[in-house]
């Protein structure tokens, strides 16, 4: 069945609300407005204002309230409109959600799910274009998911709700209108593995989220030149499935990591380090990274495009590796 990513998220939300009376959704404009990206459109009518809760503009407080509700036995889904505004909730995320279980000697758990849109590419300038999922992946105590397909967009939400610990789901804003085919299989999808989205033998393209589609497009172009790229969708940034990405690198002996965040201190740097540590002698060339330019993302299209990873950048990086 073909559906949009937005519909996939909505169908996941609906199913979660139907399955478990402890589940509720809260965030800015999730109810009456229908969700900033229309993910929750219609849910207020269907489930009522107790379970679809519009909050004031208080990111720190409603994320903190999500933590409290989770501690209190509920299964909250908190929508932070976009990753850009999650910065206002960072204290709650880092100092409470991520620490409570460990710090309490295992007495408490926080079964909280937080969803947010991430990424650039829509000409909304420097304060609305961040890609910070790599930052979040730095924090022990939370799980970080980056669904790139419609199947994952729906399924990961349901899996996340089954976890005893906080799960953060990053939905690339560019993907909401993308159509895809819902795959058969268990609906709460597994979240322990990366997925090989295209098989190849010459180079591994390691990526996640919105960049997956750029990597796949690059692989198609490379195939026309006789280069067979393997594309690995990391899917879960924390805990990272090292085995799948290392298996791919051991097969192809070359790796390009594609990450929409800035290069310095990026998740791409982490992936590169994992390869150095565990597959150094398998490499035929140094690991390459395709990341955003180290600038605040500008508004005009030509500058925004120049700042973000492109299909062309990926193709060039692969060609450089293959010499």
């Amino acid at each position: 069945m073909n559906i949009t990513y937005r519909e996939a998220v909505r169908s996941g939300l609906r199913e979660a609300l139907q399955r478990d009376p402890r589940v509720f959704l809260m965030g800015e404009d999730v109810g009456k407005y229908g969700g900033t990206y229309a993910c929750s459109k219609g849910l207020l009518d269907e489930f009522g204002p107790e379970r679809i809760r519009d909050t004031p503009l208080s990111e720190s407080t409603f994320v903190g309230a999500g933590i409290g509700a989770a501690l209190g036995g509920m299964r909250p889904i908190v929508e932070v409109m976009t990753v850009n505004f999650s910065l206002l909730a960072l204290d709650q995320i880092m100092n409470n959600a991520a620490t409570l279980r460990h710090m309490s000697g295992g007495q408490f758990s926080v079964p909280l799910v937080v969803r947010m849109a991430t990424g650039a590419g829509r000409q909304v300038a420097a304060q609305h274009s961040h890609s910070l999922e790599g930052w979040y992946a730095h924090i022990p105590g939370i799980t970080v998911l980056t669904p790139a397909t419609v199947t994952d967009a729906r399924g990961m939400l349901l899996t996340a709700l089954e976890q005893p610990d906080p799960v953060f789901i990053f939905e690339h804003a560019y993907l909401y209108s993308m159509e895809g085919t819902l795959e058969e299989g268990p609906v709460p999808v597994e979240i322990s593995h990366a997925a090989v989205r295209r098989i190849g033998k010459d180079v591994s393209l390691l990526t996640f989220g919105g960049s997956l589609w750029k990597a796949l497009a690059a692989a198609t172009q490379l195939a026309q030149a006789g280069i067979e790229a393997e594309v690995v969708d990391l899917r879960v940034l924390r805990p990272l499935d090292r085995d799948t990405l290392l298996a791919s690198v051991r097969k192809t002996h070359r790796a390009v990591v594609i990450d929409e965040a800035w290069r310095t201190g990026s998740f791409a740097a982490e992936i590169s380090a994992v390869i150095m540590e565990q597959a150094f002698y398998e490499l035929d060339a140094p690991v390459a990274r395709v990341c955003s330019e180290e600038v605040p993302i500008p508004y005009p299209k030509h500058l925004e495009e120049a700042a973000l990873p492109s299909v062309e950048n990926i193709v060039q990086a692969v060609r450089r590796l293959l010499g």
């Binding site: 009456k32 229908g34 503009l57 850009n84 909304v124 330019e293 500008p298 508004y299 005009p300 500058l303």
Partner: protein, 339 residues
């Protein structure tokens, strides 16, 4: 007509309100034509607030505004040309095209943005005022924000600090009754916003934001109060946005009737009516004004069209003061010379 308004002032307020409206109507058209992209938050309906309040500030005072700031920049005196060019993303824009609609800046007019994180401007305004106080300058920092910002922690922290330290901040809440799709009464336990400011021991007033004269009178008084060193002051302007939150939304959160009722209170129509009633204004005046504004808008569009794009090679320029491509500023030259 009230004694506190001359014909000249009244005409100027009307002119500013109309400049904002025509500028934005044209911007909305240009958006449909694909000349402007990203978010475009229109101020239409709220013009009396910027037109009445900004003239109460002096050239030395500072302004911190939000992503709905086209009107504020226009009234402050930034050229319509550079604002339109900014909307296009051209290098001739007031932020070299890098910011777009939400990020107007104009250092020469102490216009500090154009900030698009709700509530994010308040702490900045508090800091600007602190700098003035510490350096003994009798300047005022005017900080505009919406009713939605009132829910953010930064609002409360900033009001408290400004009041505690008696800082020269003028907090100006543009209460248009909605934060995107969330009505004030659906996000505030106490929807009387001025009351919140009083809880921080701050002088606060509620003002009819659809009446440019009321806005002017209240703001001028508040500016004087702050400038005299009495600490911060808070004004809540009751106003209404006639258009969607950004360019499009389904407006599921309010009724057509409600919007139409507010449109009866259109700040431009009402004020023009008053000028006419006082025999300060007639059809001919209006026709002349319309023609001059239309010419200004078209000139701005032509300027924006003709402007160059910033070269891609300039992308790293100004990321920090050392970034490649930066010209050495006078200060860094001096520092280097001193070394």
């Amino acid at each position: 007509m009230t004694a506190s308004m001359t014909r000249e002032q009244g005409v100027e307020w009307l002119r500013q309100m109309l400049r904002i409206r025509r500028f934005e109507e044209r911007a909305a058209e240009l958006y449909q034509l694909g000349k402007i992209h990203g978010f475009l938050h229109l101020y239409i309906g709220e013009e009396a607030v910027a037109a009445g309040s900004i003239p109460a500030l002096t050239h030395d005072d500072a302004i911190v505004a939000t992503y709905r700031e086209h009107g504020h920049a226009l009234v402050r005196g930034t050229s319509m040309r550079s604002l339109m060019a900014e909307l296009f993303g051209k290098a001739t824009g007031c932020a070299r095209g890098r910011g777009g609609s939400m990020h107007f800046f104009d250092a020469s007019r102490r216009f500090y943005g154009g900030l698009a994180i709700v509530g994010g401007g308040l702490p900045v305004a508090v800091g600007l005022a602190l700098a003035d106080k510490l350096q003994g300058r009798a300047r005022v920092t005017a900080c505009y924000f919406g009713d939605g910002a009132v829910a953010e922690g930064e609002f409360h922290e900033s009001l408290n600090l400004a009041a505690l330290w008696k800082l020269p901040v003028l907090f100006l809440c543009e209460n248009n009754l909605y934060a995107m799709g969330t009505a004030l009464a659906r996000h505030q336990s106490q929807p009387d916003i001025a009351e919140k400011a009083r809880a921080y021991a701050m002088t606060a007033h509620t003002v009819d934001g659809m009446d440019v004269l009321a806005v002017e009178v209240a703001t001028r008084r508040a500016v004087e109060f702050v400038r005299q060193g009495n600490g911060p002051c808070f004004l809540e302007y009751r106003t209404y946005r006639f258009r969607a939150h950004s360019m499009y939304d389904a407006e599921l959160y309010r009724t057509k009737d409600e919007v139409n009722e507010w449109k009866q209170r259109d700040p431009i129509a009402i004020f023009e009516q008053r000028l006419r009633a006082a025999r300060l204004w007639n059809d001919e005046d209006r026709a002349q004004l319309d023609a001059s504004i239309a010419a200004e808008v078209e000139d701005a569009v032509a300027f924006a069209e003709a402007g160059p794009w910033e070269p891609v090679d300039d992308l790293p320029k100004d990321v920090d003061s050392r970034a490649v491509g930066n010209q050495q500023s006078a200060i860094s030259q001096k520092l280097n010379a001193d070394r």
